[in-house]
Symmetry: C2
Amino acid sequence: MKALKSHYHHGDLRATLVEAAVRLLETEGIDALSIRRLAELTGVSRAAPYHHFQDKRELLCAIAEAGFVQQEATLTALEDLQGRERIEQFVHTYVSFATQHREQYDLMYGREIWKNSGATTSLEVVAKQCFKRWLSEVTALQAQSILNNNLPAVRVAQVSWAALHGLCRLINDGIYADDADIEAMEASLVAMLVS
Amino acid sequence: MKALKSHYHHGDLRATLVEAAVRLLETEGIDALSIRRLAELTGVSRAAPYHHFQDKRELLCAIAEAGFVQQEATLTALEDLQGRERIEQFVHTYVSFATQHREQYDLMYGREIWKNSGATTSLEVVAKQCFKRWLSEVTALQAQSILNNNLPAVRVAQVSWAALHGLCRLINDGIYADDADIEAMEASLVAMLVS
DNA sequence: CCCTAATCTTGACAACGCTAAGATAATAAT
DNA sequence: ATTATTATCTTAGCGTTGTCAAGATTAGGG
């Protein structure tokens, strides 16, 4: 017979923690995301999460990883588009994801995770695969002469992604504060990439 | 007669703190930068810094501000260059500053400072002036037909700066890990901006 | 039914940001 | 010269955090 209030063997605490973390992250921001509060939210003791994550950073990596697969999903939905429309939608979708999941995006590409090669190997795999995808995207667009094809695909991929990423960061960090400008900046980015 | 070990009225504690903070930041990283350690380093009590900075964030703003004026100085040194060489050197100087002052650069353009409009007004002034400078740079390059002049200068400035910034972040965050690629990426960035 | 391994709890430690109350020193006023 | 004012620094302490060690509880295989 199961005791009602028994908190032992929660079920799948790991997944529950990640879910709660993503939610908490998006509603209250990174500063509010503490192991202790997370434990409290999921009705478990402060030390419990440490049986599923070595570190806080490992938890953050799991959040980031979830972000990557979600982002991947939104981008894969554009498969049937071609040519210029494709890159336009790609940019728009990318920026939208970043602005709608600010905190998670910051985590995915942020220092907290990547410095001192602190990323989980499983996260590294997902992230690398994400860049590979963009690389093949670029190669295709180069073949259609939509992107600069005087430069190696790797370079074009690196620089264009940097531009996309930089735009998202400046927006998310509140440096390009005016939200009404986002569309215009997206359009200009595309224009400058394809010209 | 002055007591030797008197820690009262340090002299210019505010400046001393900022200096020590910049040093500590660059040597041990942002995580090691605590008010308490800073106080210890400058031989003062833990609460002393709070008489010169309301918050930790205000201290961080001061560090960022110092970074902006230093960066401004390195960029002003390029005044006599023209045309394509100018933009090349500009990019190179910008990236070099970012990589040589990683932690400070991250602070300058990072969330920690800008979110929730948490920047000091004096920092906001310096930063805004920095963008204005880049804007006029862009206008000049547009006039020489080096940069895209089918788009408003503001947009070109926003996007190109985003590209520059994004590149720096990806490098600093260790996502574009290979340092040997930096030069090539700089060159490609310029190529894509001017093409 | 018991044993092992997985899982969770309690209790504690050090470090952190920050505050309140009081001590000390420089400065200005008398 | 003495006093009052103000700026500056200190000591003591609160609440929060990440993390660990030791022990309690439970699930599942022999």
